[in-house]
Amino acid sequence: MTGGPASAPPWGSAGQDDGASWGTATDHGWTGPSQAGAPWRRHRFLSRWVRGPGSPLPLRREREGRLAGGVMAGIAAKTGIDVTALRVCVVVATLLTTGFVAAIYVITWLLLPMTGEDTNIASKALADKRGIGLAAALASVLAVLLITASSLGAAWLNAPAWPIIICVCGLVLISRNGAADERLQLRRLVEPLLGTADTRSRERSLLRWLLTAGLIIAGLVILFHGKERFDLLIPLGGVLLMLSGIAIALAPWWLRIARDLVEERQARIRAEERADMASRVHDSVLQTLALIQRRAAEPQEVIKLARGQERELRAWLFDGQEPGTIKGEGVTLSGGIRQIQQDVEAQHRISVDAVTVGDCELDDDLQALLGAAREATVNAAKWSGAETVSLFAEVEADAVSIFVRDRGRGFDPDAVPADRKGLAESVHARIARRGGAAVVRSAPGDGTEVSLTMARASDRMPRRA
């Protein structure tokens, strides 16, 4: 699939849409309409319909400016004839030929490659056994329906029967084998009729109801019209028997095809997920492993890398957050705690075990609390000499508490060294005027724990992460 307008060659931009197709020749880089004296402008009448000199490139379906398959847009680009005129001609011709032109259109759609591509949809469709099966199934259903209808008196259905069957089969194959953007286009065309679209959309459901009402009224009219001739009901019974016979014979096949479609879709989703996973794992884990191998001689560096990667992977797998970002950073408390963990681990040779219970959104008070927690964690990383710091945050209905604990050398609170005193004072100062409290507990050889609490504004409800 060479999808995407980015890969389309420059000549593939004929007519951005119908309304804007007047200036397409300029877009091509050919002589523009403003350049008087261009040979194709000599005929006044022709110049009304002919927009350009035509492209010397082979005929292709156009990606841009198409309505259905881009066949008309392609012919317009090739011949220089206005695309709207071509479309009107095709619609009129379809009506006159009871649909054969539409069938030809669909076949052209199948056989004509899109701009920038060498293969057509038909060559892909030939390998699509299930698609062919589905098309055949639909064709058989349609054939039965049309035969039934025409035998019931709607003889006018005989003429467009073949075109209808060809169109449906062709569209099925296109919808299964076309490029992704083509399928999307097709879905957009079919959606309102099938009712697969968003049911909240009023106009679409209106269209569907109108269609249903029309069919029901038509059916009633036919029924009442044939009321005086009950002998018509006898062939109807025969047809019904025949129909049920065919349905019983083919139902398992139709069901299997429907199931296959579902399975195939699931398989495709799985494959996409796997590809996504592989690319992420490559971007993160494999890169880190490569780095670790190269720095095997520096254990501290290796631990730092491994911790960082572990944290990122964990956040991705269990919190669904993209690698390289911190969910809720600056927004929620748990995001803030994760940020502290990440920063301290990156800047100091220490691991931070962070546990958060509950979560809530941050306000200025809690930002201050997080600031104090960060300072306490950095302090532990710098001075405690411990290998890990435990960081525990709990959000309760009326208060938020954060505990920073290390099992490092500790100190005697009564004989406070200057740095530790600085910690207690600055941590306390950060939150005291907002109504928070800080308690530092420590003993020599027993580690240190800083407990920080802050009352919550009562209107804030606890939010689970």
């Binding site: 269990f318 509950g358 709990e394």
Partner: protein, 226 residues
């Protein structure tokens, strides 16, 4: 099974390792050497069940993620026939639903693979002695799970309401575990004995295993989604 080896290692708990990574098994083996007696190892569910039934160890160190059905399958198969075998689960991840699932299956504790050697030995000995082992993160999960239930209210009355709530004391103990305290430190902090701390943790474990409340599983599922 009681040969000269077990005589030499008298008093040491007999430990069985189940993990699909050979490298990890050998690492754990060397860390446990001298403290416990490793009586066997397996790398998948079916061989593990067969070998554990054969060896009857005191403690099974069980990886949560195994190719043939996960650690829960091993617990589920062994528990009915050998109720005295205790399981200590460990994994590289600590996704809440993993933790809750393996604890509910009957494991006596849960630790992550990043645990240090001495802490691992301590955890194994503790489980061998019949205690529960809660890592700080597990304690956090449990607090979160029960708090979530309380916040959601009892919209569906439970079979046994006592199982659906933690006592104040249990919550205090869990909070201290989450803060990184050892049992000894918790005991000192709360002026209770280490045995009492252990009984509180075991009681939380029991509630976790027996609670029929849907909140527990729903909580785990919700955490996964956000």
């Amino acid at each position: 099974m009681s040969g000269p080896v077990s005589a030499a290692a008298a008093g040491q708990p007999r430990v069985f390792l189940v993990d699909d990574h050979a490298m990890f098994r050998s690492g754990v083996r060397s860390e446990l050497a001298g403290h416990v007696q490793v009586v066997g190892e397996a790398e998948d569910v079916a061989p593990a069940i067969a070998a554990i039934t054969e060896a009857v160890p005191d403690v099974v160190l069980l990886d949560v993620h195994l190719p043939g059905g996960g650690g829960q399958a091993v617990v589920a198969a062994i528990k009915p026939q050998l109720p005295d075998v205790r399981f200590l689960a460990l994994s590289a991840s600590d996704a809440p639903e993993d933790v809750i699932a393996v604890i509910r299956a009957g494991a006596r504790g849960y630790i992550t693979k990043t645990i240090s050697g001495p802490d691992l030995v301590d955890a194994v000995l503790r489980v061998a002695a019949g205690d529960a082992v809660f890592s700080p993160r597990l304690a956090g999960f449990v607090l979160d799970a029960f708090a979530a239930g309380a916040a959601a209210g009892q919209e569906r009355p439970s079979f046994d309401p006592e199982l659906d709530q933690l006592t104040t004391r249990e919550r205090e103990v869990l909070r201290l575990i989450a803060r990184g305290y050892t049992y000894k430190e918790i005991a000192r902090d709360l002026f209770i004995s280490v045995k009492t701390v252990e009984s509180h943790v075991s009681s939380v474990l029991r509630k976790l295993q027996l609670s029929t409340r849907h909140q527990l599983t729903r909580w785990a599922a919700e955490r996964r989604l956000t």
